[in-house]
Symmetry: C2
Subunit: 355 residues, 2 copies
């Protein structure tokens, strides 16, 4: 058995956004302190962390000092610069480990990894030149999506290609980045599984949630998802397969398309996931605590749901609805303490109890 | 309608213990920041607060600066020095207001206040001299309890008097403090109600919990309490009466004895209360968020319970059981990040879901 971290141990978190904020709160429930590393001033996680380092990922001295001050390091986003990871990894254990980041940071590597596990992904092709794209479109066909291999999120860095004109325009915009072309999947719904694996290899998944997107950003997650029992089992089993294949430690979000031919993996995220926020009001042990438990050597929660939940993101000015929303006593409110309610910015979310 | 505090507003908290810690976490969910004022270094609340002032309650400059930096002030304990309150109150709104503190800081004033509301308390007498005590014991009788009027908590500053010898010994120990003599109540159980009132006069109570003490310290609270429907209603109504009489804003804990002649009030606490910790895993909106909602002009939660709960305090070395307790996935763990597991020290609590 792994030796659990002692009371008062310090969890280092790379990234100070809302995911870091909610990880810090979960860590506090377990008697841990947190140290957040974030380049921007006054990030959401800093309001609830014991220590904050405000420094760039290029600041090797700040990174070393940060790594020496903590007992384990985790992260709230996957695009951590490789050089920064080299530095902290040499000093302190980083969980989930490097291989998971490497896999999920690059859409091509991720798809190859999943295909090698005999899991299904959308038809795809590696695109390095215009010629690659012309050839690939013949196989993948219209409509398809051209995506950058790296740094895409919430619909950024991707273009839908319905015809030759779209193809030319997309290539003009993305030709400087390595890309993949993905066939557009004809799916009936999107679901996601929040899975966890700890240092002893214990694997636990929360029930799949059903996701709706709006303008490329997650809008709602509903629990339970309206899927069959066998789809539920398939989703959980394939998540376990991915976690084990990566020898993963922590929480992972797996986004899946439900199609008439079965489940197909859209993408994996090696971190707590927006579609797992419902667990805060649906479970005794939520995804944030589950992640902290995994990386600190504690046993995992069992993912049991005591309530059905509808999670809704508050994007941009939607956060102003909170005055009205707060009158609904079945609604758990979670705001991120961000100053500017900019368009498209995730400002908070609510979990409405459905039963 | 009261205007709610804006996102990013700062809640000042006098006291940095576990109650302040859990208030700070609740405030963060609502997008508020917190500033904790606490004389001791590295208090539990500092791990999850945005700002911390480490200064004595006699440091008038630090108090003024603290009061100027926040949008509203609350507290996590009732024995705040009067002079300190004078200073911060002159600069910033303090909620709950002074009158509630004045009433609950002094057992005699509290009992007179409750008696004037036609509520029942144990037989009591004001004790200033040995002669007072000799006379009072004739009326109140053996066994009774001699308690200091101020600064008592968790069984501290009180002595049980079963006979003349106890009487002499107790007086020798407490004669330098103003005291009250209380008749020992023959109760079948102790319950408590966590009530809340906001700035618009809205009153909401959580269901009564049933409390067990061990060595003068709360050991468990069980929800629901095993009481009749009419006792339940009585408990909630009298709590509302107290809240309204004080024009109270915030959460209050009301401890009650259930006797064959009805309910009797043991004491009131003008703050979030240990016997309300079950709400963290039993309700969408817990007592900590309820308190922050009340003092920040938000609507209150309705106190609805989605799960039955057994709350157990982890005292001193009991916190070491957490390695075992964490294997029970129906258990919500809440640790306070305290370094030394001293005897009698509250180190954390667990909420076990019972249904």
């Amino acid at each position: 058995m792994t030796k659990p971290l002692k009371q008062g141990a310090v969890i280092g978190i790379l990234g100070g956004g809302q995911l870091g904020r909610m990880l810090a709160v979960a860590a506090s429930r377990m008697g841990f302190r947190t140290h957040v590393f974030e380049p921007q001033e006054n990030p959401p996680a800093s309001h609830v962390s014991d220590l904050v380092t405000t420094a760039a990922y290029e600041d090797t001295e700040a990174l070393s000092k940060f790594a020496r001050s903590v007992d384990v390091i985790t992260f709230e986003f996957e695009n951590i610069p490789s050089e920064a990871l080299n530095i902290v990894e040499a000093i302190c254990n980083v969980l989930p480990a490097r291989n998971a980041l490497k896999t999920s940071q690059d859409r091509l590597i991720e798809k190859e990894f999943l295909t090698n596990l005999n899991l299904t992904v959308a038809p795809y092709a590696n695109i390095e030149t215009e010629e690659d794209l012309t050839q690939a479109i013949k196989i993948v066909g219209f409509p398809s999506i051209l995506k950058t291999r790296r740094f895409g999120y919430d619909g950024k860095g991707q273009f839908k290609i319905k015809n030759e004109t779209d193809l030319k325009n997309s290539w003009a915009k993305l030709k400087n980045s390595p890309c993949v072309l993905e066939g557009l999947v004809n799916f009936t719904k999107e679901i996601s599984v929040i899975g966890a694996r700890n240092q002893d290899g214990e694997v636990v998944c929360f029930d799949p949630g059903e996701n709706l997107h709006r303008d490329g950003i997650l809008h709602t997650t509903t629990l339970p998802a309206n899927i069959s029992a066998s789809q539920n089992i398939d989703a959980v089993l394939l998540t376990g397969k991915i976690l084990n294949a990566l020898n993963y430690v922590g929480v992972m979000g797996v986004e899946l398309f439900v199609t008439k031919d079965g489940l197909l993996i859209n993408e994996i995220a090696p971190r707590v996931h927006n579609s797992g926020h419902w667990t805060q009001n649906g479970c005794v042990i939520d995804q944030f605590e589950q992640h902290i438990r995994a990386i600190s050597g504690w046993p995992l929660g069992d993912g049991k749901r005591h309530s059905n939940v509808l999670m809704t993101n508050l994007i941009g000015s939607e956060v102003l609805d909170v005055e009205t929303l707060s009158r609904d006593t079945d609604v758990g409110i979670h705001l991120y303490g961000k100053a500017d309610a900019k368009d498209g910015r995730k400002m908070g979310h609510i979990n409405k109890i459905l039963n």
